[in-house]
């Protein structure tokens, strides 16, 4: 166990072993004492001019008055949430694009179309029968055949069946 503490403080223990050992150190005062002494040795070797005693004890005493802190989520959970949030944002963006495309047609143009339809209501306006061929021939070239943003080009026309050949 002591050797594992030595390895742990050097950051050379596997994560699952470390988790288990940290739990042991938490419960065992001797293990905690070894943790402290091993760190003291290292500190003395590195900086013998600064060997300060009792600080951790005093912090420990003050910590007794401190409430337990709780982070709402761990790092992994946050990562998952971040992934989900990014997916949701991408979905919303896609929906936004579709909505924007549909708005090209609907909100502003609807009244105009309605007015145009109202204006075109008198479909009984006599059309020159000679124009039927022209209209039929140019229907395929009309922009209203396009799916994308074609609404602004929509015009309602009619021709007389009686005049069809």
């Amino acid at each position: 166990m002591k050797q594992n503490i030595s390895v742990l403080m050097d950051g050379e223990l596997f994560e699952d072993e470390a988790e288990s050992l940290l739990g042991h150190i938490k419960r065992n005062s001797d293990a905690r004492m070894n943790w402290e002494i091993y760190h003291l040795i290292g500190d003395v070797l590195r900086q013998p001019e600064y060997v300060h005693r009792g600080l951790s004890r005093k912090v420990r005493e003050r910590m007794q008055d401190e409430p337990v802190v709780l982070a709402p989520r761990g790092r992994e959970v946050k990562q998952q949430i971040r992934t989900i949030a990014l997916s949701a944002a991408a979905s919303l963006a896609a929906i936004g694009v579709v909505a924007w495309m549909s708005l090209q047609i609907s909100p502003e143009l609807s009244p105009r179309l309605a007015m145009q339809q109202a204006a075109l209501q008198p479909a009984s306006v006599p059309i020159n029968a000679d124009a039927n061929d022209y209209l039929m021939a140019h229907q395929e070239l009309s922009p209203n055949a396009d799916m994308n943003g074609g609404a602004s080009y929509i015009r309602t026309v009619s021709y007389s069946l009686d005049a069809a050949p």
Partner: protein
């Protein structure tokens, strides 16, 4: 697992409500942070208080620590800010002749700029501890002393030490532990005389 991973593991334990994990972090960083703060706050007793304050502030702020930087960098930044605020509250200026930041503090080795911040009542004890550690180190067999020195002073990983000493990593692990334990054996009687005043 690296040293930084270990810190992160301890931090996550604290974030789950484990106060004892923070105690382990305090034990690990108390002298490093204390030495850093003593460069700002010259009075030893004040420096100790500021160091305690910095740890308490760090504990309160830990729920917001997301591990984007190393824990010690984050802690040192809190320490520096706490020291500066302390000086500001007392209308004193931080020393400007030793510019550094939290990132540099880990490698700061200029002993001439460091000050002895032990209070008089601890000074004798501190000297004894240093004496025991150093004499114990000298008494160690060469391979144990080299392994411990390479780890603690040079900061080499086990793998690097294994290459330097031309031995398996398992041997490095064993040598470092045996060296520590040999020194600790000599230290324990001294520390136990302080009756509850743990280091």
């Amino acid at each position: 697992m690296t040293d930084r991973d270990l810190d992160q593991q301890l931090v996550e334990r604290v974030q789950r409500g484990d106060k004892h994990a923070f105690d382990l972090l305090v034990t690990k960083y108390q002298r490093k942070l204390g030495r850093l703060i003593s460069r700002f706050v010259r009075d030893p007793a004040e420096a100790e208080d500021v160091t305690q304050d910095a740890f308490i502030k760090a504990y309160r702020a830990l729920p917001g620590f997301r591990g984007e930087s190393a824990f010690y960098t984050w802690l040192y930044r809190i320490g520096i800010n706490t020291a500066k605020n302390h000086l500001l509250a007392n209308k004193r200026r931080a020393p400007t002749s030793t510019p550094f930041d939290a990132e540099d503090s880990e490698s700061f080795e200029d002993a001439s700029l460091l000050r002895e911040v032990n209070t008089p009542e601890n000074e004798l004890m501190s000297k004894q501890v240093v004496g025991v550690v150093q004499s114990s180190l000298q008494q160690l067999p060469e391979d144990l002393r080299s392994a411990l020195t390479l780890r603690e002073i040079e900061g080499l990983s086990y793998e690097e030490i294994a290459i330097v000493m031309d031995c398996p990593i398992g041997t490095v692990r064993s040598r470092i532990f045996r060296a520590r334990e040999a020194v600790a054996e000599n230290l324990r009687p001294l520390l136990e005389t302080s009756k509850g005043k743990r280091w």
